[in-house]
């Protein structure tokens, strides 16, 4: 007998599985998958101003830095200001989906591709952002390589204000509505990577970025 049958066989025997109760149980499973009942959720504002304020507050608590611009076209200049202020190179790997903005005018040289080890700065967008915890949701796609938010020491993300949702449940519903099925990788990112493994003392910058900078775009 193969291991699958052995393991499932023992589970079935212990649960007293028979054809009749399997029918009822399958109904329960189908119901659970169809209803997708939400559990208790912490109170989060639902109006735009409240959502943005909560997102900013929680992002800062996760050690992300924040900026705001009026329009997408203003983003490159804001990114350039941040990089200059941080004494970082004006050179970045970028999600190909964002390469169309006028980065050259802001003095930033962008490479639309997946990230490699030597990339110092990565610029991404996000699928949406979650106010409850100050979290970005990034969905992998040919135009959204997952490495851009992971390998560089500095990660800059453009966050359209209209895409800030209250909680993760809302993010899943958005993904179901817009993408149909889940992409290969959904990555929720809440600030720079960190570790507390040595003496339970948190240090920023473990394997992923040391810095996460969020640029909220008001009319996007």
């Amino acid at each position: 007998m193969n291991s699958r049958e052995d393991i499932l066989g023992r589970v079935r025997a212990r649960l007293g599985r028979n054809p009749e109760n399997a029918v009822t149980a399958r109904k329960d499973i189908d119901a659970a998958l169809a209803e997708r009942v939400q559990g208790p959720r912490p109170a989060v504002p639902t109006d735009t101003a409240g959502l943005v304020a909560r997102f900013e507050e929680k992002s800062a608590a996760q050690s992300s830095s924040l900026d705001r611009v009026a329009a997408l076209a203003d983003a490159p200049a804001a990114v350039a200001r941040y990089l200059t202020g941080m004494n970082l190179p004006l050179r970045a790997v970028i999600w190909p989906s964002l390469a169309g903005l006028d980065w050259r005018a802001a003095g930033i040289e962008v490479a639309p591709r997946g990230a490699v080890d030597s990339d110092m700065v990565g610029i991404t967008g996000c699928f949406c952002a979650i106010a409850e915890t100050g979290t970005l949701m990034a969905c992998s796609a040919p135009d959204h390589p997952a490495t851009v938010s992971l390998l560089p020491e500095t990660h800059i993300a453009l966050v359209p204000m209209s895409r800030i949702v209250p909680g993760m449940e809302d993010a899943w519903n958005l993904a179901r509505a817009e993408l149909g099925s889940l992409p290969r990788a959904v990555n929720f990112i809440s600030g720079p990577s960190r570790t507390g493994d040595i003496e339970q003392t948190i240090v920023l910058g473990a394997h992923g970025p040391y810095r996460v900078h969020l640029v909220i775009v008001e009319d996007a």
């Binding site: 329960d28 998958l33 390589p145 959904v186 990577s193 570790t195 992923g208």
Partner: protein, 468 residues
């Protein structure tokens, strides 16, 4: 991992006598506890969320066979291969075979307790695949001659900064660093090279989502993302009990897991991974394998211990356990320490191999109160004690003592005589003082405290006298 749990008493005594370990445990004490207390306040009613989390886990366990089939169906539909393993050896065989099939030389691992259960690193090395632990704590243990972890969330909680500084200096042959940030950067640089050159990524799975056929991984360091993004092959090794129905259910559990573990409202990275990369994608694995592991779990389904399978491995029970805080994790002798380990180790490795673990608890119920999925840990420990007695696993003198006690307690005249003798003996032993410093029948009990001396007459005597 070979269990050393039968040597619990000796292990615990050694831990208590180790001044370095005691100092390190003191440093760690309370840090997670305080952070958790703050983090759960963000949830309006934590008890309501615990109840909901318990129900989600129970819903799956009650029909585990069918939920597993459902997960297998959805995961396979997205291009993953689902394999099953009865025990640790079978995990090792599967991973070695996958490695051979895809020409793997190096495997980068994010934390997986199942791989500890299976002793996977040894097997990989034997199969010509170099395993690299990438969680900072697990990496420290690996370069320290494959030392086992002492905590499921903070594997090196038993080590001081000084010890780690020495170790890096010796192993990396670099100048000795004493700043935590500098040590972390040194490990980052060593491990980055491995992430980029590994052919296989191995991860555990915090949850499996039946709705979508996904695995959910939480990490703070980003190593979970690295090993599931860069290598060509990704192998997920996880227990059969980890299935949850929907993304909504996952979301609720993700509110409880990091808060209970480290006091974070969310882990830095939560990755929900489904299937393999499409041809147009620039990153992601071409092959995805799930190894669903029994290793003792299936035989707990449907028993009085089934509640234990709700466990989401947050570590809150050990963080709050006075016994764990005093002896550390290694004394427990197997993969899982603390209260959850004292239940899991006997269930998974045999009651007779962990005879002292169910006893290694004061039953104070701190663990039961903090458990995010409401596992009645003290009750399960008590049930394991009952099982030990039923199976005649306790030492002969304990069994004899209990037999005598049962006989005496069932007979009022014998009981009266026993207590009549007892109080007089104890009064004599106290020698006029109101405390007994050394109780000759149970000297261990009075090691750290005195025994109050009785007045010299039993309750029955006093009662009879009062009535007259």
């Amino acid at each position: 991992m070979e269990s050393r749990s039968r040597h619990f008493k000796a292990n615990a005594a050694a831990s208590l006598a180790n001044p370095v370990l005691q100092a390190n445990l003191q440093t760690a004490k309370g840090k997670f506890v305080d952070k958790r207390a703050i983090a759960i306040k963000e949830i309006d009613d934590f008890e309501v969320s615990r109840e909901a989390a318990k129900n989600i886990r129970n819903r799956v366990l009650e029909n585990l066979d069918l939920w597993l089939e459902k997960f297998e169906e959805t995961a396979t539909a997205r291009g993953a291969t689902v394999l099953w393993a009865k025990d640790g050896d079978e995990i090792c065989r599967h991973v070695a075979e996958i490695g051979q099939r895809h020409g793997v030389h190096k495997a980068a691992k994010s934390k997986s307790m199942l791989s500890e259960e299976a002793n996977l690193n040894l097997a990989l090395t034997a199969a010509g695949i170099r395993p690299i632990e990438t969680d900072l704590g697990e990496y420290i243990l690996q370069i320290n001659d494959n030392e086992p972890p002492s905590h499921i969330i903070a594997p090196v909680v038993h080590k001081s900064l000084d010890e780690i500084a020495d170790l890096f200096h010796q192993v990396h042959k670099t100048p000795r660093k004493t700043e935590i940030a500098a040590l972390t950067r040194e490990a980052r640089e060593v491990l980055r090279e491995h992430f980029l050159t590994a052919d296989m990524g191995i991860s555990g799975g915090n949850f499996l989502v039946a709705e979508t056929g996904s695995v959910a991984l939480v990490t703070n360091e980003g190593n979970g993302r690295m090993v599931t993004t860069l290598p060509r092959v990704h192998v997920v090794i996880t227990g059969i009990e980890k299935v949850v129905p929907t993304l909504e259910d996952l979301t609720l559990l993700l509110r409880l897991l990091p808060r209970s573990a480290t006091g974070q409202s969310i882990s830095n990275y939560v990755s929900v991974l489904t299937g393999v990369k499409t041809p147009a994608e620039r990153d992601g694995p071409e092959q995805l394998y799930f190894i669903l592991v029994d290793n003792g779990r299936a035989d707990v389904v449907g028993t009085e211990f089934q509640d234990m399978l709700r466990c989401i491995r947050c570590g809150a029970c050990m963080n709050h356990c006075p016994v764990y805080q005093t002896i550390g994790g290694h004394a427990y002798g197997w993969v899982y320490p603390g209260p959850m380990g004292s239940v899991l180790t006997p269930l998974y490795t045999g009651l007779e191999n962990a005879i002292d673990l169910p006893q290694a608890a004061t039953l104070c119920n701190q663990c039961g109160v903090v458990c995010p999925v409401m596992i009645p840990l003290p009750e399960l420990l008590r049930k394991l004690r009952e099982k030990q007695v039923e199976k005649h696993l306790r030492p002969w003198f304990e069994r004899l003592a209990l037999k005598i006690w049962a006989m005496v307690a069932a007979s009022p005249p014998l009981y009266a005589l026993g207590s009549w003798l007892g109080v007089r003996y104890l009064k004599w032993l106290a020698g006029g003082r109101d405390r007994i410093a050394v109780l000759s029948v149970a000297p261990e009990w009075t090691l750290g405290r005195d025994f109050p001396a009785p007045e010299g007459r039993t309750f029955r005597e006093l009662y009879r006298k009062g009535k007259k």
